[in-house]
């Protein structure tokens, strides 16, 4: 029989985790990839918040003398053809990405949760009609749908958020609805009725909190795609308008003309997009593992 080291097993299970520092240490040990994702996301958020402190240059100031300056020297990541500092634009671009990513995901989740909850809990004709609408929306890919929305709404930060949020709604509504359908048959819902709760209150107090775990998993996954779609929209000229620095538009401005002569104009925004999307996906996977009830001990 194998010798079992109880201390090692307990440590693996996280039995001696104390305090928030211990919790973080345990998370890093248990989900190293998730930790990488968390670090990437933390860097992303910090960059967006402290953009003013991080960047020495103003992202809007043009300077013809340093047009297409290569990386190194005064401009760490080089400068674009108008002589704007690439590093500054990436740093400030994080704000746009974060605003659109979080804004669109939050808006999409709020609408999706409302629709899914009403649809699943109250059912009836509302459910029927709304779910067919969701079917129609889901038949189009996220990007195509967002493209149509953005094109019809016109370019602005708010419109970009709306254009990305609306196509996210069906996914959220679906998940919440299916969870609600099983939750509303649970005995604790009946018990809540038996203490005199109204149906609306039951839906909000008892059903909604039980759908939060899958919602968090979905939201982190959607965050990555929202950021990606924002870049794609900007790349196609339908995102946040000039002069706001958006990673996607930085790519599109430079891709055709300068990809051979000044590749840093394409590489660095591309790396920024990839890193953030990669980070949210890694973090989302770890969250999913943690919140998966089958793995919770």
């Amino acid at each position: 029989m194998a010798v079992i080291d109880h201390d090692a097993e307990l440590a693996r299970a996280g039995a001696n985790v104390r305090g928030w520092a211990g919790g973080i240490f345990f998370f890093v040990r248990r989900y190293p990839l998730g930790a990488v994702g968390a670090v990437l996301m933390a860097m992303f958020v910090a960059t967006a918040v402290f953009a003013d402190q991080i960047s020495a240059f103003d992202p809007f100031t043009t300077n013809a003398r340093v047009s297409l300056a290569p990386p190194g020297g005064e401009h760490v990541l080089g400068a674009d053809f108008m002589g704007r500092d690439v590093f500054a634009r990436i740093v400030y671009g994080a704000r746009i990405s974060l605003a659109v990513g979080v804004g669109a995901t939050a808006l999409g989740c709020i609408i999706g949760v409302l629709i899914g909850l009403m649809s699943g809990f109250f059912g009836g004709w509302f459910d029927l009609i709304v779910q067919r609408l969701m079917d129609i929306m889901q038949s189009l890919p996220l990007l195509v749908m967002a493209l149509v929305m953005a094109a019809s709404l016109g370019p602005s930060l708010t419109n970009t958020i709306i254009a990305i949020a609306i196509p996210l709604v069906p996914n959220v509504a679906r998940i919440i609805r299916s969870n609600t359908l099983s939750l509303r048959e649970m005995p604790f819902v009946e018990a809540a009725r038996a203490i005199g709760m109204s149906e609306t209150r039951i839906a909000i107090v008892h059903v909604l909190p039980n759908t939060l775990a899958p919602l968090i998993v979905l939201a982190t996954a959607q965050l990555g795609s929202a950021i990606l779609v924002e870049s794609a929209l900007a790349f196609l000229g339908l995102g946040v308008p000039e002069p706001h620095p958006s990673w996607g538009r930085m790519l599109s401005e430079s891709a055709a003309e300068y990809v051979r002569t000044a590749p840093w104009l394409v590489i660095f925004p591309g790396v920024a997009i990839s890193a953030v999307v990669f980070g949210t996906n890694l973090f989302g996977d770890a969250i999913r593992d943690i919140l998966d009830p089958r793995q919770r001990l």
Binding site: M186, P187, F188, E190, A191, A192, R193, A194, I195, G196, M197, S198, R201, V205, H206, P209, N210, L212
Partner: protein
């Protein structure tokens, strides 16, 4: 005591002149299903004295749980519908109230403990919060006051370290603890009537006794009347004062508990009693005597004959039984039964 003081004084208080807290008359709950009309509760009447315990017994599917849900007006519609009768709680006919008024009654004046303590509590809400809900709803308490009361209730139902437990989630509690928490939740507003629908069926035997004892103790302290729904005659004998035996949606026998056990007048009641395992029976030398069962199964309620519904399973059945449903009559003082042959059955028990 403080618990009683906390109950709201409402107009129903004036109805205390009557000794009956709950009167059910000719309750009929039908289910409209694909396989036809199911008369799950068909003309059940009973009354419940203040602070008393009434047991409703019968096999699975005899309509006892639907009776309970009908009293709470919680029968799922569709397919179920309460189509007739009166349920008077403190003189107020619950079946005539609108839904909002009924919500004020539920959990406040009449509440229910369910069979499954494992799933009857919301897994993502703390115990304290769940007990608070009823208080916040009915007594307009602040969250903090309600939580303090919830902790008092947890203490009352015998949960150790109630302050600590109130912050815990259902999965951190054992089955017995959870049922105690359910009872605390049901009794938080000090209702007049507590319906306990097989409160101990999902618990192991040692915990069963504790829970029943707890219900009896709280009943004495709070003056709550209890309707105990069960299929366990042992439980009935220990706790109830009065017993109703239900079969196929109808009441077939009713008596005080002592009288019923001493002199069952309906063959179904007799069958139920004979199917209780007895130690003496098992110890018998030969050890071969088989535990008696009631042959057959409960008939499908969707297609009941005009005849006595128990006739197909009854050893006493004759042509009269197969022809007409027996009237529900007072066969002995305060002992009612619906059987053509109750005299013969009584003799057989005594003989």
């Amino acid at each position: 005591m403080s618990l009683q003081a906390a109950s709201p004084s409402n107009s129903a208080e004036q109805a205390t002149a009557t000794s009956r807290v709950l009167e059910v008359e000719d309750l009929q709950t039908y289910f409209y299903t694909r396989s036809g009309l199911v008369k799950a509760v068909d003309g059940v009447s009973f009354s419940l004295a203040r602070g008393a315990t009434l047991a409703i017994v019968g096999e699975s599917g005899c309509g006892k749980s639907v009776t309970a849900l009908s009293l709470m007006r919680l029968v799922a519609d569709p397919p179920g519908r309460i189509i007739g009768g009166r349920v008077r709680l403190e003189g107020v006919d619950l079946l005539r109230l609108d839904e909002a008024a009924m919500r004020d009654i539920r959990g406040n004046q009449i509440s229910m403990v369910f069979q499954e303590p494992m799933t009857s509590l919301n897994p993502v809400m703390t115990i304290g919060r769940q007990i608070s809900e009823a208080l916040i709803l009915h007594q307009r308490m602040s969250n903090k006051a309600a939580l303090n009361r919830a902790i008092e209730m947890l203490q009352l139902v015998g949960i150790p370290e109630p302050k600590q437990r109130a912050k815990e989630y259902p999965h951190q509690l054992s089955g017995g603890m959870r049922q105690r928490a359910m009872i605390a939740m049901a009794l938080a507003c000090n209702p007049r009537v507590l319906i306990a629908d097989e409160p101990t069926s999902a618990l192991d035997v040692t915990i069963q006794a504790q829970i029943l004892e707890l219900i009896a103790k709280l009943q004495r302290e709070l003056g709550t009347a209890v309707i105990l729904i069960t299929h366990d005659l042992g439980v009935v004998a220990e706790t109830a004062e009065r017993v109703i035996v239900m079969y196929a949606g109808r009441k077939v026998e009713e008596a005080a508990v002592g009288e019923l056990f001493a002199r069952p007048l309906h063959p179904y009641t007799r069958g139920l009693m004979n199917s209780i395992p007895r130690l003496a029976l098992m110890r018998r030398e030969a050890g071969q005597q088989r535990l008696q069962e009631i042959p057959g199964i409960v008939p499908a309620l969707s297609n009941l004959p005009q005849a006595c519904t128990f006739a197909p399973r009854c050893a006493f059945a004759d042509d009269m039984c197969r022809g007409q449903f027996p009237p529900y009559q007072e066969k002995r003082p305060d002992h009612w039964a619906a059987c053509w042959h109750s005299e013969r059955i009584a003799e057989k028990v005594n003989g």
